[in-house]
């Protein structure tokens, strides 16, 4: 399945902002984060198609996955 993965803040360092990648069916959000070499402890928020999602969630073809570290402001 083809997914668009978007990274934010320092997760972009030495990686990318946005990339379309093929993943095997059944890949979880956690699998994708691990495959990118991102420390799971540093992950703050994940969203699929602008909705918050869990690490266990399995995206489907065409989904957009956004991965954020712990951030805040206001």
């Amino acid at each position: 399945m083809q997914l668009t993965v978007k990274l934010f803040a320092y997760f972009r360092d030495n990686r990318f902002k946005q990339k379309v990648t093929d993943y095997p069916e059944g890949t979880t959000v956690e699998d994708i984060i691990r495959s990118l070499g991102i420390d799971l402890d540093e992950v703050g928020v994940t969203m699929i198609n602008s909705r918050h999602c869990s690490l266990e969630q399995v995206p489907v073809d065409g989904d957009q996955l956004a991965i954020f570290p712990n951030i805040g402001g206001g």
Binding site: A9, V45, S50, A66, I71, G72, G73, G74
Partner: protein
């Protein structure tokens, strides 16, 4: 220094120093400003008349070595909202006032001579009122420069720009920061209240006095634990790197970034105005990504944004200002946004209210969406010169909506709704509706839990749990706003079990008391109830606790959702 009440009556230019009444002793910051206003100001008075009072109060911990404790509260009846109002900011004055023993500075009355301007100078012996001519009409940056020369670099400065002098309801009060730039008590038109008293600035004498601490050893231990909780928090670290503007991309991704005067939840130009782009731009131009607004801050969310030539352009370049000029006005150019931000700082205008006013003006056809240069021109040539158009824009989003017959006007109680759309992030809609001070995200920042996963998780698109979330956060915020602490300690307080107890230990060590967590919650509740009672006596009802009707009728992309929380649910906010 013993704490005292410093009182200035501008009707006869007299000053007094008073003993702190017993019932005010446990209060500081917002808790004190709101209590004084509720006790002494007629709720139905004209906010710019002689019966309103401006109350300035450092927080309970301001002036001590406690980390992040340098916020100064200003309060009055707001000329923008007609409600009670408190706005707080960093800068150097909170700590200096506390060290002079100023529990609160209360400014009342109004000069009988309309043509004259005055300044106040605060020192340990009291307050001196002087007639002022030199800096009248000047922007805030020039005021600081002149006063540094006149009174020395270390002097504290609390000032209004031309907007405050002209009593525009978007006018703020600015406070000199450690780098001779300014921080602003932004919301609710408090600059117009100081202007109505014909006071251009308040200077604060430097002092070597210290704030008395009942148990210095316990204080030191508590402060070490407190500062550690702040420094170790990952959100504090991200704030230091990217500033609050790190939020542009995540709020855009969530579909809650109000765009083009609140007609969409996502902005195509988000990347160009994001915290990531801002950080890279600052680094490439030799600016400073990290900067503190007051001594003792360990988070450093401010920054120095420089222009193409590497010259200072603006600091404290906040997400809300960048959102409003960026997404809401569709300006996808950070340099135009920085220029407008700097102009608003210099004129002394709330950068949320004024920028949202521009979004409404764009909808009215006054200038096109995306016209960043046009915004800067209008700020310089219309607002700065006090033309009729400039005065309308400087009086805020609701004023622009009324003047131009626009119905899509994002305000609650006349105060502009900030950077989070209540249709897609419903908890914040409860805060906008029920806040005692008009729409204000900082009153109960549900974004933490709705979007950022801080303090648990509540689905932003669901109606469930939003009233309770907003209520708990509004109560906690009222208490934090009384301590002199920056609200950004809340990110650590919500998720690190050591943070809040160490803050309570700091208060106990400072005053030699035995507060518990319940006492702090009760303080927050009592402040909210005091503020609410003032508003009810001023004529507000639960019918004022509503969002503008377009939120219920116009779905926004990408989630195509409307505001759908019932009036009964909103009113249940006050069931405590």
């Amino acid at each position: 220094m013993a704490e005292q009440i410093f009182r200035v009556n501008m009707s006869d230019l007299s000053t007094k120093i008073e003993t702190v009444p017993e019932e005010w002793k446990g209060l500081g910051g917002r808790g004190l400003t709101s209590t004084v206003i509720a006790a002494e100001v007629n709720p139905t008075c004209h906010p710019l008349g002689k019966h309103n009072k401006l109350v300035i109060a450092p927080g309970l911990l301001s002036g001590t070595p406690a980390a992040n404790s340098g916020r100064l509260s200003c309060g009055a009846k707001s000329p923008l909202t007609g409600t009670i109002k408190e706005a707080n900011a960093g800068g150097t004055s909170a700590q200096m006032l506390a060290r002079h023993g100023v529990k609160a500075l209360i400014i009342e009355g109004k000069p009988t001579d309309n043509g004259k301007w005055y300044s106040l100078h605060v020192h340990s012996g009291g307050v001196t009122v002087q007639e002022e001519t030199e800096v009248i009409g000047m922007g805030n940056f020039a005021v600081v420069e002149v006063l540094n020369k006149r009174l020395g670099d270390k002097v504290g400065v609390i000032t209004i720009g031309p907007a405050g002098e002209m009593r525009m309801t978007g006018a703020n009060i600015s406070i000199k920061d450690p780098d001779n730039h300014i921080r602003s008590n932004g919301r609710g038109g408090l600059g117009a209240v100081l202007g109505s008293k014909q006071i251009k600035f308040i200077s604060v004498e430097p002092t070597s006095e210290k704030v008395a601490i009942a148990d210095p050893e316990a204080f030191k231990t508590a402060n070490r634990a407190f500062a550690k909780a702040l420094v170790d928090n990952p959100i504090s670290k991200a704030l230091g790197q990217y500033g609050t503007n790190v939020l542009v991309n995540i709020i855009n991704e969530s579909g809650g970034l109000p765009t083009r005067n609140f007609t969409s939840g996502q902005f195509a130009g988000h990347e160009a105005i994001s915290g990531e782009t801002m950080h890279d731009t600052i680094v490439a131009r030799g600016g400073k990504p990290k900067h503190n607004c007051h001594a003792g801050c360990v988070i450093n969310c401010s920054q120095i944004y420089t222009d193409l030539k590497g010259q200072y352009k603006t600091s404290g370049f906040e997400y809300e200002s960048i959102w409003a000029l960026g997404a809401d006005c569709c300006v996808d150019n950070l340099d135009h946004i920085a220029e407008a931000d700097s102009l608003m700082d210099d004129l002394g205008l709330d950068s949320i209210e004024t920028a949202v006013a521009f979004g409404v003006a764009m909808e009215a056809g006054v200038l096109p969406f995306g016209d960043g240069a046009g915004i800067c021109r209008i700020l310089r040539e219309e607002v700065g010169k006090g033309t009729p158009l400039g005065r309308i824009i400087g009086s805020g989003a609701a004023a622009v909506g009324r003047a131009y017959g626009v119905t899509r006007v994002p305000v609650v109680k006349n105060q502009a709704i900030p950077a989070y759309d209540p249709r897609a992030i419903k908890g914040i809609g409860i805060t906008y509706a029920t806040s005692t001070q008009g729409a204000d995200h900082t009153m109960g920042y549900t974004i933490a839990t709705n979007i950022l996963g801080v303090g648990g998780k509540v689905d932003p698109l669901s109606k469930e749990g939003q009233v309770e979330l907003s209520r708990n956060l509004q109560i906690a915020t009222a208490a934090i706003d009384s301590t002199g602490m920056c609200l950004f300690i809340a990110f650590a307080a919500l998720d690190d079990a050591t943070c809040l107890p160490s803050l309570i230990d700091l208060l106990n060590a400072r005053f030699g008391i035995n507060l518990t967590a319940d006492d702090v919650t009760n303080l927050g509740m009592s402040i909210l109830k005091t503020e609410r009672a003032f508003n009810l006596a001023a004529g507000f009802t639960n019918k004022d606790d509503r969002l503008p009707e377009f939120f219920a009728e116009e779905p926004i992309a990408p989630h195509n959702v409307v505001w759908d929380i019932s009036d009964e649910a909103i009113d249940s906010f006050w069931d405590f």
